[in-house]
């Protein structure tokens, strides 16, 4: 029974992963990757690790993939165009590397002695929060703190990188509500294509100008 479930989830994972690599549209790739994450979460449940399964769904399938899909839609990504002539050697390289790794898998399956034991017998309480929490906050406190510093660095780095920089000179004063309007918009006597800027300092001032 468990073997059948393993085969089902493994087939789902491998199939979704293959679909992800085969797709040309990044959005379809992202959906397939979510399929991989969900089937891996099912496998974690089979391995008696319910906490990791929940975190997998929440963090990976929830947060990270939402971020990726958001960026894909934000950038309006085109379909991957056909391969150009150069770098054509990459496909044979990939196939050879894949063949080597698959041979390693066959080696594992054929020769490695199976570990006697099973996740469902013995102490079940390994994968629940009751055993993860104390270990995380006592024995592994230092990695935990390093992780929090890493997250802080990631927040600052992402904000710095994704900020739209370079529009304002470094010593510019930013006034809330200040904006520039083209002259033709606020003055009916001006030429329709007169785009000389008129500056206002507040939103109310801009509204008064527009009403004239």
């Amino acid at each position: 029974m468990l073997a059948l479930l393993f085969i089902l989830f493994a087939a789902m994972a491998v199939g979704s992963a293959l679909a992800m690599v085969a797709q040309r549209n990044p959005l379809y790739s992202a959906i397939s990757l979510i399929g991989v994450f969900i089937s891996l979460a099912c496998l974690y449940v089979m391995l008696a690790a319910p906490f990791i399964a929940a975190v997998q769904v929440i963090v990976y399938a929830g947060a990270i993939m939402v971020l990726v899909v958001f960026v894909i839609m934000l950038l309006n990504v085109e379909q991957e165009e056909r391969r150009r002539k150069r770098l054509k050697f990459l496909v044979p390289t990939a196939v050879v590397l894949a063949a080597i790794l698959i041979a390693e898998v066959a080696f594992i399956l054929a020769t490695v002695q199976d570990f006697r034991g099973s996740p469902t017998e013995g102490d079940i309480a390994v994968g629940v929060t009751h055993s993860i929490g104390p270990a995380l906050f006592t024995q592994y406190l230092l990695p935990f703190e390093i992780t929090s510093i890493l997250l802080l660095m990631a927040i600052v780095g992402a904000m710095t990188l994704a900020r739209r920089g370079g529009l304002l000179p470094p010593n510019a004063r930013v006034i809330p509500g200040a904006q520039q309007l083209p002259l033709s918009l606020v003055d009916p006597r001006a030429e329709p294509d007169d785009l000389r800027p008129v500056e206002t300092n507040t939103t109310e001032e801009a509204a008064r100008l527009l009403e004239k």
Binding site: V36, I64, L67, E80, D114
Partner: protein, 101 residues
């Protein structure tokens, strides 16, 4: 028949292989990014399998930390992707061969 440890290791190796192949074949930077996520997940599966079969919680803590690193990587990586797209108007890795933005 119960699933053995080697089954999980083999599945993990297959998933990692698919991820490596994707990183080599793909040229869209977001698709390569997702293939890297797939490789991280393959390693996570190994950690959880060993943790369960050896009845030791350490492997699951490693998975926890790998997930955090993946989240940080996603945030910074997508920020870099957005910055590259603003400057290059393209997501092709061949177009992003110069470090200067």
């Amino acid at each position: 028949m119960e699933p053995q440890l080697s089954w999980y290791l083999a599945l993990s190796a297959v998933l990692f292989t698919i991820g490596v192949t994707g990183v080599i074949i793909k040229r869209n930077i977001i698709a390569m990014f997702m293939c890297i996520e797939l490789m991280l997940n393959a390693v996570n599966l190994t950690f959880v399998a060993f943790a369960s079969f050896f009845q030791d919680v350490t492997g699951q803590l490693f998975v926890f930390i790998v997930m955090t690193v993946a989240a940080a990587e996603a945030a910074v990586g997508l920020g870099i992707i957005i910055a590259i797209f603003r400057n290059r108007e393209s997501l092709d890795v061949d177009d992003a061969s110069i470090l200067k933005l």
